[in-house]
């Protein structure tokens, strides 16, 4: 990093978590030994849409090792319905049973739960349950779902249209009238799934004597999960402890309280016996959580130089069968930030969300990822139709530094971002002008190169004011505590939960900086709701800004108390000329920081063991709490440049180079940040090129193994060249912005734009992802 005012923040330290993971000593939920625990397995629907007429589990119940078999009728007595009814205009309220009773809504939906002494026996018994179904017509895609008289996924609603929202700013109609040209473009993003390498799972232990539930699970948001469990089980929050051990990836899949987890918790309580569940991969691919199935159409009014005068967006999302989240929110953020770093004042959108007979949808790392592909893809379509260079079209539309801060047409404020700097940086690094020459040369030899650009403004941290403005119940704040123990060792906690991001190696730097100690003296404790303060957890890219910000401010507050004690010990009137640095109190004397001979260890001992030596009226101990609510939204920004070669005979896409310039403000630990950048780009490329949750027209999931749901391997991904930039956010503690999702956004757009650049000589454009060989060969058929 460049010069910073920090001594701890920004240190490139290898991770603390690594040793336990490298030696097999990590502790994931399925590694926790629980004597006498029953193992659960779920019987799932083979049909996409069916009424459950009868369940006969008599033969299964008599099988070896079986302790209990329960259905939705049983669980309905022990758990409450999930009402999803936020006061959002255009969104229909829904209610979800704890476990299906009368009807299943997708293939893989829940039918029964078997508990046995081991998982093999539970699965044997599940196979012996006889279920009689009345199969119903299913809607397996969003257009079928929104057709007149379509079978209704949720029969309490008048149609499958879950949400419809409109927005208009400026005078779009007038701009279209005066436009040089009108350019339309289509973008279809396919269904994907988060695919954490550790599937879902949980273990519930009910203490009958104390009437207390301990719930072990890998979850991104321990406290909101506890609140949800309490509400659904009719317990108080004080009766539940959620304990999150190491988590093998989340990516948005481990946020909601799923029905399986609710059932396990309810059963542990009913049977007064530990119950555990480990999802298998087939269940994870069929029934955990899906994402990203969205279609966008844009219509742009443009000037002769490619300048966008007005933009219209029409978007439809397939939300699946159930609402674990408010149905409008993912699609709405795409529409909200679509115009990104471009100068567009006249903008209108229409966003519709449909229910279908498929697994319920939710957030996946960068839920709004499609926005950057749609926006930069629209710019490329303008360039193609007007015969302009894609980079020059970006330059005429992009906000210049002088135009910032800038309020987007939707009211979103962009500040402390540098989109033109990142764009020029990647164009220079990838050799944009020379590429066009190489591309022309290659085409003469029947080789087809393509270069794609994509610039991202990444919404990172959503503050409470964003939620309030969006009409969503909830908070964007985060909470922290910092405790200096009597020996001077520092413990800290925050309401986030790590799922691989390396929090133990980044967040202590914020504490160390704020307090004035070396980071080696700080230990971070996460994931136990009895220990951590109530926070909103890890989602979006809020960890560093909301969590790191809360910890930094909390540590500063702790330093104030430490220095007040030091001033008293030094018989000074004020602590104004004191600071804590590397655990020692220093005093500014004649312009130089000078040692005082007092260390944090002395002050800690005094605070706990000699409270009468404290300043009059000060409470003993060094135990400080702090909550922090970030600005309504913070943004990072990046530009991506991707060079591909398309084999027109096979349709194979090879990535030859990948360059990212990313400005994510102050970074806590650059090692961790670089890893997040690489991982995010990899997930975006994998999704755009390979991954596909595929349903046939009857709603059968045909991608239920890892042989069918393909993710990128080491052979398909390139090395990423990253150009780091660090413009601090002026409004956040230490200038932190947040990051880790923008890479997904940029990769989806850059690789798609690159493939279309390679396809250009054939007069075809890929509008549907994934960009698999069959898709691309289909476009080229008859044109080579």
């Amino acid at each position: 990093m460049a010069e910073t005012p920090f001594t701890q923040i920004g240190r490139a330290l290898p991770r603390r978590e690594d040793r336990r993971f490298l030696t097999g000593a990590g502790r994931y939920v399925d590694d926790i030994a629980l004597p006498q625990a029953l193992h659960a397995t779920f019987l799932r629907s083979p049909h996409a849409h069916a009424r459950i007429l009868n369940i006969d589990s008599s033969a299964a119940a008599a099988m070896k090792g079986v302790a209990a078999i329960v259905t939705g009728q049983d669980i309905a007595q022990w758990a409450n319905v999930l009402q999803m009814a936020p006061p959002i205009e255009g969104l229909r309220p829904t209610a979800m049973e704890p476990f299906p009773t009368g009807k299943v809504r997708f293939q893989g939906d829940l039918v029964a739960c078997v508990l046995a002494t081991d998982r093999y026996l539970a699965e044997d018994a599940a196979e012996a349950i006889e279920v009689e179904y009345e199969v119903l017509a299913a809607v397996a895609d969003m257009d079928a779902a929104l057709a007149q008289d379509a079978p209704r996924v949720d029969e309490s609603l008048p149609s499958n249209l879950l949400s419809e929202q409109h927005f208009a700013s400026g005078d779009v109609a007038a701009r279209f009238k005066s436009a040089h040209a009108v350019v339309t473009a289509c973008f279809s993003q396919h269904r994907q799934t988060q695919l954490p390498l550790e599937t879902r799972g949980c273990a519930a232990v009910w203490d009958e004597g104390r009437q207390h539930l301990t719930f072990h699970t890998g979850n991104q948001v321990p406290h909101p999960l506890r609140t949800a469990l309490a509400r659904r089980l009719g317990l108080s929050e004080s009766q539940i402890t959620v304990v999150c051990p190491d988590v093998g990836g989340g990516f948005g899949q481990k946020i909601a309280l799923y029905r399986e987890e609710l059932a396990i918790a309810a059963l542990a309580r009913q049977l007064n016996r530990p119950v555990r569940w480990r999802e298998d991969r087939l269940e994870n691919l069929q029934a955990a959580c899906h994402a990203r199935e969205q279609r966008c159409e844009t219509r742009a009014a443009v000037a002769a130089d490619g300048r966008i005068l007005a933009l219209e967006l029409s978007m439809t999302e397939d939300f699946g069968a159930y609402c674990f989240f408010p149905g409008n929110y993912i699609a709405r953020v795409v529409a909200l930030i679509l115009t990104g770093p471009y100068r567009i004042a006249d903008y209108t959108y229409r966003v519709r969300v449909a229910l279908t007979n498929k697994c319920g949808a939710g957030p996946m790392r960068a839920p709004m990822a499609m926005a950057s592909w749609v926006m930069d893809g629209t710019l490329d379509e303008i360039a193609r139709q007007l015969g302009l260079d894609p980079l020059s079209v970006r330059r005429v539309n992009m906000l210049t530094p002088a135009e910032l801060p800038y309020t987007m047409p939707t009211g979103e404020l962009l500040e402390d971002v540098t989109p033109s700097e990142t764009l020029e940086a990647v164009a220079a690094a990838i050799g944009y002008d020379d590429f066009r020459r190489r591309q022309a040369e290659a085409r003469k030899q029947n080789r087809f190169l393509g270069l794609g650009l994509c610039t991202v403004v990444e919404p990172t941290t959503y503050g409470s004011r964003f939620y309030k403005a969006a009409g969503i119940l909830g908070s964007g704040h985060e909470a922290a505590w910092v405790r200096i123990e009597p020996t001077g060792t520092v413990r800290a906690s925050v309401g986030l939960m790590a799922t691989g991001q390396g929090y133990e190696s980044s967040l202590p730097l914020a504490v160390a900086e704020g307090l004035g100690v070396d980071v080696s003296n700080v230990r971070l404790e996460l994931g136990n709701t009895d220990v951590a303060p109530y926070g909103m957890g890890s989602r979006g890219a809020r960890g560093a800004t909301a969590g790191g910000g809360a910890l930094y401010l909390c540590a500063r507050k702790a330093q104030e108390k430490v220095l007040a004690i030091a001033a008293h010990m030094l018989k000074l009137n004020s602590a104004g000329d004191l600071r804590l640095r590397e655990g020692d109190v220093e005093r500014l004397i004649g312009g130089a920081w000078t040692g005082t001979g007092i260390a944090l260890t002395d002050i800690a001992r005094t605070a706990y063991l000699d409270p009468l030596a404290l300043p009059p009226g000060m409470e003993p101990g060094l135990d400080v709490s702090q909550a922090y609510d970030p600005p309504p939204m913070t943004y990072s920004n990046s530009s991506h440049a991707c060079e591909v070669e398309l084999d027109v005979q096979t349709g194979r896409v090879s990535i030859l180079r990948y360059v990212v310039a990313e400005d994510c403000g102050t970074v806590l630990n650059p090692v961790v940040v670089r890893g997040q950048q690489q991982g995010a780009v990899a997930m975006g490329l994998s999704g755009a090129l390979f991954e596909h949750v595929f349903y046939d027209e009857t709603g059968q999931n045909l991608s239920s193994t890892l042989a069918d749901y393909r993710v990128a391997s080491a052979c398909e991904l390139p090395n990423f060249e990253i150009l780091p930039m660090h413009t601090p956010n002026q409004r956040t503690p230490a200038g932190i912005k947040g990051m880790a999702e923008g890479g997904v956004m940029g990769a989806i757009g850059a690789v798609s734009n690159a493939v279309n650049d390679a396809l250009a000589p054939f007069g075809v454009t890929a509008t549907h992802q994934p960009l698999t060989p069959p898709t691309l060969r289909g476009l080229l058929r008859g044109r080579i």
């Binding site: 991770r15 390498l197 550790e198 991969r281 890893g675 890892l706």
Partner: protein, 161 residues
């Protein structure tokens, strides 16, 4: 279901007498019966590679192996890679190069390349990526894992870095 079979399972140089049903997977016996939970189960159909262990020093999927097949063979798991608390050169390089994030795939990758580096002291990047394609990592994008394997190979060859 068939009766349990009594077998001697040699894991990390220790012989264990275990009675297991013939269909019980090696991965489950290692994790649940022997408490060696460092071997992770990511897919149970042999694709993800998280459960990779060494059987007679060759990488193999513990989720595609029945424990009863292991009579007379030697199984090595992640727990035996670090010696006397010291990380192996590969483990150390993965740490230094930030070659892991959530850590769930990591034991399988370590086992795959502990064997590979014994036979291939100076692999190219393409060779490393080819072998690594048998292990799915959802977090890192693989770049730092490749760098770590190259670094470990150099260290094991005794080259100064």
């Amino acid at each position: 279901m068939a009766e349990r079979m009594l077998i001697t399972l040699s894991v990390n140089g220790v012989a264990h007498e275990v009675a297991v049903p013939p269909r019980r997977l090696l991965s489950d016996v290692l994790r649940e019966d022997l408490g060696l939970t460092g071997t992770h189960v990511g897919c149970e159909h042999g694709v993800c590679g998280a459960c990779t262990v060494l059987i007679d020093d060759r990488p193999a999927r513990a989720c595609l192996t029945f424990a009863v097949q292991m009579e007379g063979h030697e199984v090595t798991t992640i727990e035996a890679v670090a010696r006397d608390g010291a990380l192996s050169p590969l483990q150390q390089a993965l740490h230094e190069e930030h070659g892991l994030q959530c850590g769930f795939c990591t034991p399988g990758i370590v086992m795959t390349f502990e064997a590979f580096l014994r036979d291939n002291p100076d692999p190219s990047e393409a060779e490393i990526r080819d072998v690594l394609s048998g292990n799915i990592c959802r977090c890192t994008g693989y770049q730092n894992i490749v760098a770590a394997v190259r670094k470990a190979a150099a260290v094991m060859r005794g080259e100064a870095l």
